[in-house]
Amino acid sequence: MSTYAQKKGAGAVIWDFLTTVDHKKIAILYLIAGGFFFIVGGLEAMFIRIQLAIPDNNFVSAGVYNEILTMHGTTMIFLAAMPLVFAFMNAVMPLQIGARDVAFPFLNSLGFWLFFFGGVFLNLSWFLGGAPDAGWTSYASLSLASEGHGIDFYVLGLQISGAGTLIGGINFLVTIINMRAPGMTYMRMPLFTWSTFVVSALILFAFPPLTIGLFLMMFDRMFGANFFDHTMGGNTVIWEHFFWIFGHPEVYILILPAFGIFSEIFATFSRKRLFGYSSMVFATVLIGFLGFMVWAHHMFTTGLGPIANAIFAVATMAIAVPTGIKIFNWLFTMWGGSIKFTTPMLYAIAFIPSFVAGGVTGVMLASAAADYQYHDTYFVVAHFHYVIVGGVVFGLLAGTHFYWPKMFGTMLNEFLGKISFWLFLIGFHLTFFIQHFLGLMGMPRRIFTFLPDQGFETGNLISTIGAFFMAISVIVLLINIIMTSVKNEKVGNDPWGDGRTLEWALPSPPPFYNFKQLPLVRGLDAYWLEKMEGKKGMTPAEPLGDIHMPNNSFIPFVISLGLFIAAFGAMYRAEHSWGLPVLIAGMLVTLLSMLVRSVKDDHGYHIHKEDLIDDNDKGVKA
């Protein structure tokens, strides 16, 4: 028995997760934290729907409603969808390219802890005088006028977690370029890996404008600067530009990994190679590229003038083309296939019409002149929930069911999975379809109440009922997770039986070094190719040898903690004398721990060949 897989106490497990640099454990951390924030954001959504169930409702007050709607959007995008996407990228991508870990395991851990502390900081606002209340877009004039510290929490929390995301993006880019297994050429990479690659590039170029926007906001609110104060020469439209130069790529950052997950699922459960693989890759890259050219379609009514509006309208419409290519390629992947309706496949199948509905309203919104009507109404709310829930959330739920056995070694219950699928699907359409019409009938978004006799009653009530379906569905999913975790029936390498890519050639969950010997990749769907030739596993590309592994480290946690402390100092600097010392102390904690990391040599360690042979006999039998 090797020393690496001993039974540990609870304290040791926690310490292990606090210090881990293993991409699979970090994936689990992202999944848990993202799942937690998903539930928090979901509760906020339920409060919104309850408040709007009937006209003139008093469930929450106007000010609190604005806080809830802001935190719902911010939480769902930054603290739920992003980390959940990162969970799957971390869990699957290194396995798919045949790597033993990501390029920078230390930075991977740092990225997680930055996100986590940023998210906790943001949510502490509820207990420390009120949450941000200017919408997740936090447009400058309103967010500067907002009293209390809500917006400060938003600015600092997102700054910290955004830094974590940026680090993650760079890490994945380098991993995919440098760490692919022998034979894993770019055009043999699974589509989920491709979408991770493109998304990481988007993160690299989209997050810095947000960083700057948040910096400017922070300086304006906390240090007396005047970037957005028009009486001092400032200009609030700068914020709008920065926010959307980030914000539009951001939605592709969320949807492309979902596309990647669906591509894997369609191919797997149709038992068919992805139709038009190269054009799928091309479409992914093109969507990523065009994603940077269209931000001003969020600002059609800002008054940029007809030339800008027309250019951005046409550019936006162009995105429909690569997206359409993808939809048809998925359909034709299934065409002639052998479709098995597992829970992940049900989500994937339901995704197509749901996402098409969201996509076509996207084209309608792109039509600038007509958008003057849609803009900032429930039509927009319906549109982006169709693409984000119908696309991203379906993708994440599909991915959860699909990759659960690979991450945890046990399957989720299929029966409960299908129940939660149907509840979610029905609830989703019930909630959001009607909102298109509410918008067209004159209901602006972000209103805490509506008055009777304007024709909004029925639609809102239906929408609220739908939301309850989704809530029940998530509860069923949670029950499913708890039940199956308690039972913990172990599964083998390829529990779905139709696995195509490298991760299914490994035990579930894989050993911490992933591949004992790096596999030789001979084509797209590498594992499928071997299976079709009657082989049980991958052909190794190297003789058995020592494996170099990185050491665990507590430093990422401390670096993030330092920024977390400094953020409190920055926020309370103006009104409390302890603010400035705390700000400096926090920054010192961060900088000193960075220095420690820098001057302390960390060469990692080696797993010796003999231990690996040992493992083969006793340990991870599949």
């Binding site: 106007a62 007809p306 419409m317 162009a318 290519i325 978004r445 304007q454």
Partner: protein, 354 residues
């Protein structure tokens, strides 16, 4: 799966049925009541038609796929197809053509809606032929200034029907957005620059809507964003001219008639006049116009933009504005007894320009 597929078609029919007209005529973008709204509605119909076409194609393939290609036998291995250049060309080129069909009228409409040249054509007196309204959005109330007529009003916008009305939009505190759904799309009121656009109010549609369109703020602006409503009285040209003449005739604050109203006027002059003017002249600077102009208050359609216009509601509003519009700027600026509120209410109800 079949059930699922049929169920999918339902929304399609619903789109058709609902787009054909729903919502209230005074509020719904689906009941266009003017040239701008009509152009936008036509674009909506065009894009919906194209998109429904796309949805139909996807749905047909979708239904075939999920019904015909279910796994029947656990050992079957389908043929591994790489792709098809011909098919891929088809679903690249056809969408491009469809988008062009939408893009051309979109661009044309975008430019047409942005054409505010009549606003720039000023005569020697600095006035324009076209009707111009300067809209100033404030935390939860709207001010409408008529620079040609040199008057202003608040909350109830008065415009002539069947001609283009040009708007200059601006916010005095935070960003808002000016939107009259039935008459046309919105435009933001920014804090640092003036936005310009035009609308046209259709006479016939105005009659159907009871000459009163609902206007809304469409940009989150604070707690009472949902309540930042205004109303639009769209009048035939001659009635509009009469209203303008009547308003211009008010040079001095209108004197109260009854004893109680006179008492109210006194209270008003002591407690309220610092923010609220009762003459319509636009000569005071913007910064001094801190509250809605009340010259035509007696003719308003709503109290505070949201409550039905009657004495009871005025009293309710004056007593505790915070309960009605959280975060408004009037709360706590005055201290009136119940009797004083009654008196002021009576006085306010008498403020009418015609």
């Amino acid at each position: 799966m079949k059930r699922l597929a049929k169920w999918r078609l339902l929304p399609l029919f619903a789109v058709m049925a609902l787009l054909a007209g729903c919502g209230e005529p005074f509020l719904s973008a689906l009941k266009p009541a003017g040239e701008v709204a009509q152009m936008q509605y036509d674009l909506m119909l065009l894009s919906t038609a194209i998109m429904v076409g796309v949805i139909v194609v996807v749905t047909i393939i979708f239904i075939i796929v999920v019904t015909r290609f279910r796994r029947k036998n656990d050992n079957e291995i389908p043929k591994q197809v790489e792709g098809s250049h011909k098919l891929e060309m088809i679903w690249t080129i056809i969408p491009i053509l469809l988008l062009l069909i939408l893009a051309v009228p979109t661009v044309a409409a975008t430019f047409k809606l942005a054409d505010v040249s009549p606003m720039e054509k000023k005569g020697e007196d600095g006035k324009t032929e076209a009707v111009v309204v300067k809209v100033r959005a404030n935390l939860y109330w709207w001010e409408f200034e008529y620079p040609n007529e040199e008057i202003l009003t608040s909350q109830d916008l008065v415009v002539p029907t069947d001609e283009k009305v040009y708007f200059e939009l601006k916010a005095s505190d935070v960003k808002h957005s000016f939107w009259i759904p039935a008459v046309g799309g919105k435009m933001d009121t920014n804090t640092e620059n003036v936005n310009k656009f035009w609308l046209e109010f259709d006479g016939k549609a105005s009659d159907e809507a009871g000459s009163l369109f609902y206007g809304k703020c469409a940009e989150l602006c604070g707690p009472s964003h949902a309540l930042m409503d205004f109303k639009v009285k769209a009048l035939p040209r001659d009635e509009f001219d009469q209203w303008v003449a009547a308003a211009k005739a008010v040079k001095e604050p209108k004197q109260a008639e009854t004893a109680q109203a006179q008492a109210g006027q006194e209270v008003f002059n002591n407690s309220c006049i610092g923010c609220h003017a009762v003459t319509p002249a636009n000569s005071t600077p913007e910064q001094a116009r801190m509250g809605p102009n009340l010259t035509d208050f007696g003719n308003r359609s709503r109290v505070a933009g949201v409550l039905e216009h009657n004495e009871e509601n005025i009293k309710k509003w004056l007593k505790d504005p915070e309960a009605i519009k959280p975060g408004n700027k009037m709360t706590g600026k005055y201290n009136l007894s119940d009797e004083e509120i009654d008196a002021v209410t009576e006085y306010l109800m008498g403020l009418k320009v015609q």
